[in-house]
């Protein structure tokens, strides 16, 4: 049946082509994001110079008197992310060490689903928690704190990132070979000394990658900061005051009725472009470090 074989071969080719087309969508999406962001950003930079962006200290594109200094948004993003990381990195690392070196099977079996659940909760829920639970609780300690502030948003974001930080660090710790641990014990180290002296340095690459990935997550997080951190682009580093992050600005403009093609509309994409580049750089660095780390123990 030469005819049938030929048909079959053609069909096989067609299917392979269709499947290749499916996977090309990821390239198209990447190109699409880059094209959309750069196209609209160019329109922004036609009207606003880079020096205005970098040397102005006010960000008021939605006001009558417009200023386009990006620093308030960057400061807001850095402040909330720093709070989130200050909480999630040490806590995540301690959980990872405990789970991989100390915990019994029972604890591990209990902890895994809890972390998975925490990781699966939508960010709007964390936003609700930050605004209506964390902020009132913190106001008992800091009565002068407003209802929108960087601290609550940062704390909620830290809780959100914690599961990812813990599980990535646990993976890194798991990669450290047993011989390294045994070597440390042979030198007379206690368990904690073994961890500090052998496991943590051995897992340093993987842990660094985890921290950077968490930072990228924090920088890109949107709903928590849009709900709980406020929408006032002020240049300061006071965690009790409201701030506006890059992502929260994007939400703020999207919620309003900004006409297509105006300068305000272009700012949306210029800010998104910076956000995209920032998270992309962080992701690529993290990916590289992790690759090198995994190669080290192969």
């Amino acid at each position: 049946m030469p005819g049938r074989t030929k048909d079959l071969k053609l069909l096989e080719k067609l299917i392979e082509g269709a499947l290749a087309l499916c996977s090309s969508f990821s390239i198209l999406t990447t190109l699409g994001i880059i094209a959309v962001l750069s196209f609209e950003s160019v329109l922004f930079f036609r009207e606003i110079s880079i020096s205005q962006l970098l040397f102005d200290t006010q960000w008021t594109p939605l006001f009558l008197e417009k200023h386009f200094g990006i620093w308030p948004l960057i400061a807001g993003t850095l402040l909330t992310s720093a709070i989130a990381l200050a909480l999630s990195v040490p806590a995540g690392l301690i959980i990872a060490i405990y789970v991989s070196e100390f915990a019994q099977e029972r604890t591990r079996k209990l902890l895994k689903p809890v972390l998975e659940l925490l990781a699966g909760i939508p960010t709007i829920v964390y936003g609700y928690f930050a605004l209506l639970v964390i902020t009132p609780a913190l106001q008992m300690v800091f009565p002068e704190m407003g209802s929108f502030n960087a601290l609550s948003a940062g704390i909620a974001m830290g809780i959100m990132i914690l599961p990812m930080m813990a599980s990535l660090s646990e993976d890194a710790i798991f990669t450290v070979p047993r011989s390294l641990r045994e070597g440390a014990y042979a030198l007379g180290a206690s368990k904690l000394q073994m961890i500090v002296g052998a496991v943590l340095p051995g897992a340093a690459g993987g842990i660094t990658a985890a921290v950077i990935l968490s930072a990228a997550r924090a920088v890109g997080e949107t709903m928590i900061v849009a709900i709980a951190a406020g929408q006032q682009p002020l240049l300061h580093f006071d965690p009790l005051q409201p701030v506006e992050t890059m992502t929260a600005y994007i939400v703020q403009v999207s919620m309003g009725d900004t006409p297509h093609g105006t300068l305000e509309y272009h700012t949306l994409f210029a800010v998104a472009m910076m956000l995209f580049v920032l998270t992309m750089v962080l992701n690529v660095i993290s990916l590289r470090i992790r690759e090198r780390f995994q190669r080290m123990y192969r």
Partner: protein, 305 residues
């Protein structure tokens, strides 16, 4: 491993700092005890936070979960407002996203695992998937705004929303499906190929059925993330006041997380109660999906044993 040790000794530092070992045994036991205490405190607080998180929302919102709440449209009066448009919108979004993202994602995964040879195309695809997984979700919203809402003129419709969410979950689906396909033993493929099956026949009759539970688990988790997403739909320009159930692909829509966000951004506490109730519905829906995934995973593991 050897290389790592060498690199460390080359830096001129001894592997274990010696001063630690001279400390008395008691101090060592103490430091370990303190660490364990700290770790347990953190873990217990994580548990408590999870309980507080879900508990606070349940307590606030449970009283609002009446039949009326499910069958009414949003209203300016908090006690009359409901989530009919929001939950129907979420269901539409979920179904359409599954319809778009599932074939594309699984197809891409099959291509990368079963067909692709090491080429520049494959390398580029893999690089893009890895990077797309880390792009913040707001940015997908802007992509959807420019491509689906404006360029393709789908307007702010259910279709635009679903396509945007599909692009967002595509990398996750591809990664999960690849993992599941990779777990299928090589013998399955070799057996089929030896019997004269073509590549696609092998994939379709042997590899995919064996990988199905794994693919399903990963995809359910991805879709449960998709229905909880707020930011991309907000940037897409999804409306917050919709007083009808979506009846076509091009109908304007709202969704549960958007409705909750809208109520949450109002100053009146009565609307916050509504937000809590809407979030309760969203969470129950997601937990149901996750339970299905857990059951599937358990079944899958049993069969493998």
């Amino acid at each position: 491993m050897q290389a790592a040790v060498d690199a460390r000794t080359q830096q001129g530092k001894p592997f274990i700092q010696p001063q630690g070992t001279t400390r008395p045994i008691l101090a060592r036991a103490w430091s370990e005890g303190i660490f364990l205490l700290l770790a347990r405190i953190i873990i217990v607080s994580a548990l408590c936070i999870l309980i507080a998180l879900v508990g606070s929302i349940l307590v606030d919102g449970f009283a609002r979960l009446t039949w009326h709440f499910f069958t009414s449209f949003p209203s300016r009066k908090a006690e009359n407002a409901g989530i009919l448009a929001a939950w129907t919108g979420s269901v539409w979004l979920l179904l359409l996203t599954v319809l778009c993202a599932l074939p594309l994602g699984v197809g891409a995964a099959v291509y990368l695992e079963e067909y692709a040879k090491k080429s520049r195309f494959t390398r580029l695809v893999e690089l893009c998937i890895a990077n797309l997984a880390g792009v913040p979700s707001v940015i997908y919203g802007l992509l959807g705004l420019q491509v689906f809402v404006r360029a393709l003129a789908f307007e702010r419709s259910v279709l635009s929303g679903a396509l945007t969410l599909s692009l967002l979950v595509l990398p996750i689906i591809i990664m999960a499906s690849r993992e599941a396909i990779r777990m299928v033993p090589k013998g399955y493929r070799e057996g089929a190929l030896a019997l004269g099956a073509t590549q696609w026949q092998t994939t379709y009759t042997q590899v995919l059925p064996a990988a199905l539970p794994g693919i399903a688990t990963g995809c359910i988790l991805a879709f449960s993330r998709a229905i909880g997403e707020t930011a991309p739909l907000v940037t897409l320009g999804a409306l917050t006041y919709v007083a009808h159930v979506p009846d076509s692909l091009f109908a304007p829509f709202t969704a549960l997380p958007i409705q909750a966000f809208n109520w949450l951004s109002r100053p009146q506490p009565e609307f916050h109660v509504n937000a809590a109730a809407a979030i309760t519905v969203l969470l129950s829906f997601m937990i149901a999906l996750n339970l299905v995934a857990i059951v599937l995973r358990a079944k899958f593991q049993k069969r493998q044993r």
